[in-house]
Structure formats: structure tokens, C-alpha cells
Amino acid sequence: MITIDMLCYYSRLRYANAMEKFTYSVLTLLFCVVSRSLAMALLVLAVNGILTVRKGGIPFYRYWRYMMIPLAFLIISTLAVIVNISRTPLDAFAFQIGNYYLTGSYASLYKGVQMILTALASVSCLYFLSFNTPMTDILSVLKKIHCPDLLVELMLLIYRYIFLLLDISFSISTSQDSRLGNRNLKTSMKSFGAMASVLLIRAMAKSGALYDSMEARCYDGRLKVLDEQHPPKSKEIFWIVIFEGLLLIFTIWSKLK
């Protein structure tokens, strides 16, 4: 998660209009899930891969590694759909174990692959957004589409605090290591407990200080901030409309079929 955070600041698509990126990935995700079509999943995977790696400049191996995380999980969970235990062998494959067969049909195999690819394509949509858009930009989009202010403001503060507290916990654990705090399981557990309690206290103190500093700048209960403007480009909008239109037609067609 921290790598993702770092990557998005270097992405070449970072300064593309956030609303465009948001709309693109949410719509594409929707069409993927609604149509459940194999062909569409492959198309979306390819397009998102090209956008993120070629256009965004995210290193391929990074992207690949992140795609592998859900893949392993998906394969394990779709095994239940693909593999059956039955007395009679099915058409796709069958391994005999005593009186029983470990077996599966072409239909369920197809379904399994379809599920995996649809899920991967959906994940790639979210990756596209998070690899190419800093969190603060995503939050400003959420604000524009009228997400409750309280929620957006909380997320803004939490996002900043994740890094502050991570910093503190890193430095504490380093200092514990330097004093052999993690020599064995017992000391490790003790060190971790100590760190957790210090972290809690520090978080409270930090939030008090932060509130003071916001008050000192005339904070009046509403967290008003400006975002940098990256106006949408008509060429990008054109391609998004074309692409989403295609997906829409394809989705309708696959449902009517």
C-alpha cells in the first residue's frame, strides 16, 4: 500500500483530470461486473495494462506483482466451483480416487475462468485509479460527487495520519531493535505491546496538537481546502466516451444473447 502511494506520485497520468480517471475506472468496473463476459474481461485487462504501464509509466514488474496478489486468492476460491467430487466422471477432466472422481465439467471450468478474469479485470480498474491518482485527488472527486463532507474530511486526516504514525512506529521499532528488543519471542511481544501503547498516546497527543494548529488558522468546524486544477482534456473525454460506449453496447448485446 505504501508502494502504491509512492508510485502514483510518479505516474505520468497523475495530472490527468481526476474526475476523468475516476469516471473511467468506475464505469469500466461496472460494465465488467454486469456483463461477466470473458471477452470483455480480456479487453479491459489489456487496456488497463497498457494505460497503467505504457501511458502511466508504472514499471511492468510492479504492476505484474500487484496483479498476482488477487490472482492467487481467486484461484484458490474458484477451485470450489471448478472441482467436484462425484461418483461419475464429468466431461472436462477426472482423476480417480478410490470409488470417487475428482472431476469437473467444461461448463464449470468456463464459469471458473470467467469469474477469475472478471474479478481480475475489475481489480485492474481499481489499480488503474490508485496507481495513477494520488489519494488527495480521489478525495476531491468524492467531494465533487457529494460524498458527505464529514467522511471526506476524516479520510483526508486519516490519510495524513497513516504516514505520521507509521513514521513513529518505524522509529520506535528501530530503537527497540537497537536495544535487542526483538531478541526472542518474549521480548518481541513485550516490545510490540510497548510500541502499541506509545503509539496510542502519541496519536492522542499529535491529534491535540494538530487541532490546536488548525484552530490557530481560524478553523471553524469546516475543513475548507482548495485543490489544484487539472482541467479535463477533450481528447481524453472523447476516448473515454467511445470506450465506455463500446462496453455498454457489448454489455447489452451479451445480455440479450
Binding site: 502511494d5 509512492m6 506520485y9 494520488p134 489519494m135 488527495t136 483526508l156 486526516l157 490519510y159 495524513r160 504516514f163 505520521l164 513514521d167 499529535k206 496538537a209 494538530l210 490546536d212 494548529s213 488548525m214 484552530e215 490557530a216 488558522r217 481560524c218 478553523y219 471553524d220 475543513l223 475548507k224 481546502v225 482548495l226 485543490d227 489544484e228
Partner: protein, 280 residues
């Protein structure tokens, strides 16, 4: 010439722990408009506490603060008005920066003053330019160096155009390059007529920079005067654990040895001392 002090503290008492001990203990002070005032004193002598009182974050349990002759008004409206005039830059930027985006961070204060979005954008751009934040304006705040965070935290306040700017140990944890940069910014502030209060442990810098020095000791003002008055008072310095500035030490020892004439005015910086030696 307006002689009403811009800020006046009258016999302030403040305690963090229900009056068991006092962080401010009968603290009185007057500060005139446009002055550069250095606050010096040991850790825990009450510098930060006083600064937080100036901004209305803490309310003294006894005593009164005055801004331009008016006693502080602790109503919501009064505080907002006060805070638009008195800005404070905290010692630790991590306690001040609340947003991961530099632009959001800087725009916060000025928007709170109720200006239009267009005007706020202009102001933010100006201050980014002025404080040389442009090279890292697109980085997230958690990826900035300590010095860069400091620059942003100063911009946070400058964008609001306050009459008084308080800097709490601005040079703490900064490398020499950023210390010079902060000093440059501070000099620019005083040229613009802003009253600057700064706490520091650097006697050499205070001697050269400040118009007035306030020595704090256990929540009280031990001494308040010109840098030369304060830094020649060895008793007061010893009580607050401060060294005499190097220039003064050297000047004194050169006078004692008869190398320099002790009737020369005391030098405030190395250049002056150097010119004395050159003109011997």
C-alpha cells in the same frame, strides 16, 4: 507614531495541571508594532505556552492579554478575528500539516478568512512562489524533508497576512541551508512591517537579528531589553543557562588584552568586529 503596544501581557498565569504548577507565573510584557523580538530561555521556561496564549489557544487563568490596546475577546468571533491577525508557526511541522497535499495545506488558512476562491488561489500561488516551494509543490507532505515541511508550515501562515507572526524555535532540527533560508524569510517579514516574535536558543543569531530580547525564566520575564543590554548582563545569562554570544566574548577579551579600545561601541556581528580590527 502610534505608541500603543501591538501586544501586551499583564500578569499572566497559566497552568496545565489545575494550578499545581504554573507554566506562566506572573508574566508581563509589552511589544511594539514592527519589532523583532527574540524569546530566549531554557526548555520548559514557558516560551511555547506564552505563544499559545498569544494566539488564544490557551486562556490564562489570571491576567489579561491586549491586542492593540483591546483586551482579548474569547468569544468564537473574537478568537477568529484575533487569529487572523496573530499567526503562529509551530515548532514541529508534523503537528501543523494536516493534509497530504501541499496546495490543500496552504489554501486552508486563507479560505478560513472568507475570501473568494479566486483570490485564495492567487494568494496561494504567490506564497508558493515567494517561499520557493515550487520544486516540491506536487509532492505529498509525508515525502518532504524537514526543511521543506518547515517552508510549507511558514507558507501556511504567511498566506493569511497576519500583523504578528510567531515562530516557535524555527531553526530546531533544520540543516544550515534551511536555517539560512528561514532567516531570509524572517528578514523579509520584518521589512514588510510584520511584528515577529521568535523563540530561539541561538545567542549569536539573536544578537544580530533582534531589536529586543526577552529572557524567560520559570514562566516569568527575567529581563527584557536590547540585545546588547541583555547579553552583557552575565548574571541574567547564567541564571538562564545561556552563553554570551561569541562576538561579545571575543570583543571583551581583545579589549582586556589592550588590542581594541574598550570605548568602541559593542559589535553586534562578526563584520563589525572585523572592521574594528582592520581599522586598528
Amino acid at each position: 507614531m502610534n505608541t500603543t503596544p501591538i501586544l501586551k501581557a499583564e500578569d499572566l498565569y497559566f497552568s496545565y495541571d489545575n494550578e499545581n504548577s504554573h507554566s506562566l507565573n506572573g508574566f508581563s510584557l509589552e511589544i511594539l508594532r514592527g519589532k523583532k523580538v527574540a524569546f530566549m530561555g531554557a526548555n520548559g521556561s514557558g516560551k511555547s505556552t506564552f505563544f499559545l496564549c498569544c494566539n488564544g489557544i490557551h486562556r490564562p487563568s489570571r491576567g489579561t492579554l491586549y491586542y492593540c490596546g483591546e483586551p482579548y475577546d474569547y468569544s468564537r468571533k473574537g478568537l477568529l478575528k484575533l487569529r487572523s491577525k496573530v499567526g503562529i508557526i509551530f515548532q514541529d511541522p508534523d503537528n501543523q500539516l494536516f493534509s497530504a497535499s501541499v496546495y490543500q495545506e496552504i489554501s486552508f488558512g486563507i479560505l478560513n478568512l472568507g475570501v473568494s476562491v479566486e483570490e485564495a488561489r492567487q494568494e496561494v500561488e504567490q506564497v508558493i512562489e515567494k517561499l520557493e516551494i515550487t520544486p516540491f509543490r506536487h509532492k505529498p507532505t509525508h515525502a518532504l524533508s524537514g526543511g521543506q515541511k518547515k517552508q510549507v508550515s511558514i507558507a501556511d501562515i504567511l498566506v493569511m497576512h497576519p500583523d504578528i507572526i510567531i515562530l516557535d524555535e524555527p531553526a530546531a532540527a533544520l540543516d544550515p541551508k534551511h536555517t539560512v533560508m528561514v532567516n531570509k524569510i524572517v528578514n523579509q517579514l520584518t521589512k514588510d512591517g510584520i511584528t515577529v516574535l521568535m523563540s530561539t536558543h541561538d545567542v549569536n543569531y539573536a544578537l544580530e537579528w533582534a531589536d529586543e530580547i526577552v529572557l524567560l525564566h520559570k514562566g516569568q520575564v527575567l529581563m527584557h531589553g536590547s540585545p546588547l543590554d541583555v547579553f552583557t548582563d552575565k548574571e541574567a545569562l547564567a541564571q538562564t543557562n545561556l552563553e554570551q554570544p561569541a562576538v561579545l566574548q571575543l570583543f571583551e577579551s581583545l579589549c582586556k588584552k589592550g588590542i581594541l579600545d574598550s570605548s568602541l561601541p559593542l559589535p553586534r556581528n562578526l563584520q563589525t568586529l572585523e572592521s574594528y580590527i582592520e581599522n586598528m
